[in-house]
């Protein structure tokens, strides 16, 4: 995807804001930010953002493309929607953060080992495979996403929680073989493929 990144740099040489408006979900709202900072003050992970939302908005307008897209800031969004309901200009901030994260991910320049980026990818692959989330496989793939050694350590740490979930029948070992699924997975996959094609074509057009 670094080719896509190069192509975008060429295309929008003079305006990162235009690039965001054209390619990032709800990106056309960025210019509406009035820099009050309520979003940053309302974020439950606020202290962990290198650049809180209002700062990201100003950085986009200032053309700081590299700093924004390679930042792990927007990956701190917990989707709590506090910023959205408090924003005096009613910017859909949560969605813009998701959009920025997705755009950086698609261009292949989001931070490589960002845990939420990895988890989000695992989650999407898990749910689209059979149309429904396989919680057991998702949990295990998450524990082992940083390699085998780390995985064993995490699994041991999570052992008691896993046992509790098993005992209360809120986890099922049987999910390892088969598990819940949509019947028309072919149809679902066809829909997703078509949706992706439409979205990719739009990115080319702008």
């Amino acid at each position: 995807m670094s080719d896509a990144n190069t192509a975008m740099v060429e295309k929008y040489r003079n305006s990162f804001l235009k690039e965001v408006e054209a390619n990032v979900e709800e990106g056309e709202w960025v210019k509406m930010c009035m820099q009050c900072g309520v979003c940053s003050g309302s974020c439950p992970f606020g202290p962990h953002w290198a650049h809180p939302p209002q700062e990201l908005f100003m950085m986009i307008r200032a053309g700081k493309r590299e700093e924004v897209l390679t930042s792990d800031s927007m990956w701190m969004c917990t989707s709590c929607y506090n910023c959205i309901v408090r924003c005096p200009r009613e910017l859909p901030i949560t969605h813009i953060m998701h959009g920025l994260a997705n755009y950086a991910h698609r261009l292949g320049i989001a931070p490589k080992n960002q845990p939420t980026r990895k988890f989000a990818k695992l989650f999407w692959e898990n749910l689209t495979k059979k149309g429904r989330t396989n919680e057991l496989k998702l949990g295990l793939s998450l524990y082992f996403m940083n390699g085998f050694g780390d995985g064993v350590k995490t699994s041991l740490k999570m052992k008691d929680i896993g046992l509790g979930m098993l005992k209360t029948k809120r986890m099922n070992v049987g999910e390892m073989w088969g598990g819940h699924a949509c019947k028309d997975t072919n149809g679902l996959h066809a829909i997703l493929k078509k949706a992706r094609e439409i979205e990719d074509a739009k990115m080319q057009k702008f």
Binding site: T78, Y81, N102, T116, L142, I161
Partner: protein
């Protein structure tokens, strides 16, 4: 009252052997008492929740919810879609609104759905189960079904994020919604007044990818419940329930606290108050046992 019917979107976590299977059990018991018929959307799929965005992107994500709406329109025409999961509700309602706001998006979504021979109009109302309770029944009616009031219990109503923001429930404030407290009161228990962390985020899906940062939030949520004198926490959201219940041991190990407070669903409380037994109320799904409710249910 005549039977009420809805097109039901149960969601992944409610399935047999999944993390909120006990939620569905209690919802079914509650609905039985209220004469509500839930018509499951046939072959529904995952909504991508609040973490599917990064890999999925905009249109594929919206297409997932649109497929569910299209299947609902086919099988349960004219019925409101009702979800019990916060993320299911949010994703579906968001998609419904987005498709209505943009004819381009509607066209693109239907182009994608056509790949499986489907088409969506997206003109149904998408609701959370608590909205059904509040709007279609009302507190007075819900109270009439109480057979065993939960007397003497003090309960913290933890609303959390997504059954509150961005859409809101019953037009209440985002900062201090009252509906959960009112439900607690209707069941005969006492809600914690001014529960400080009522709408605080639990970390959501990031409890998995950022456990330390999320558990710091969960610690505050549990602590504030204790500070308010609560013996139990109640929530309308499967992720809130799980996050606030299952990490208490790890939080105790990190912070030297001694948390052990049960976290149940509104439907658990209602099933018990409506005279259902422990199993019907899903109490066997509690990792931290809700002993007081077990006693009332066994009476």
């Amino acid at each position: 009252m005549a039977k009420k019917e809805y097109s039901f979107y149960p969601g992944c976590s409610s399935q047999k052997g999944a993390s909120a299977s006990n939620y569905l059990v209690s919802v079914q018991s509650m609905c039985e008492e209220l004469d509500v018929q839930l018509n499951e959307i046939p072959d529904w799929n995952c909504c991508a929740a609040s973490i599917g965005y990064a890999e999925g992107g905009e249109l594929p994500r919206l297409a997932l919810s649109a497929r569910n709406m299209a299947l609902s329109e086919q099988a349960n025409p004219g019925q409101d879609i009702v979800a019990t999961c916060a993320a299911c509700w949010l994703a579906t309602k968001e998609t419904q609104e987005r498709l209505h706001d943009s004819s381009d998006l509607m066209q693109e979504t239907n182009d994608a759905l056509a790949a499986a021979g489907l088409n969506v109009k997206a003109d149904q109302t998408v609701r959370h189960m608590v909205e059904v309770l509040i709007e279609d029944f009302g507190y007075d009616e819900l109270g009439k079904h109480v057979k065993k009031p939960l007397e003497g219990m003090k309960i913290a109503g933890y609303v959390g994020c997504q059954t509150n923001r961005p859409f809101g429930v019953d037009g209440e404030s985002f900062e201090n919604p009252k509906y959960l407290d009112k439900l607690v009161e209707t069941m005969g228990a006492e809600p914690v007044e001014d529960y400080q962390k009522k709408v605080q985020c639990c970390g959501g899906a990031l409890a998995f990818s950022e456990p330390e940062k999320s558990q710091a939030l969960i610690k505050d949520i549990v602590e504030a419940a204790y500070d308010g004198g609560a013996e139990m926490i109640v929530t309308p959201c499967p992720v809130c329930q799980m996050n606030v219940e299952v990490y208490q041991d790890q939080i105790n190990a990190t912070y030297g606290t001694k948390f052990k407070i049960p976290v149940v669903y509104y439907s658990t409380l209602m099933s018990v108050a409506y005279g259902k037994n422990g199993k019907e109320a899903g109490l066997d799904g509690q990792i931290i046992a809700a002993k007081k409710l077990e006693e009332i249910a066994a009476k």
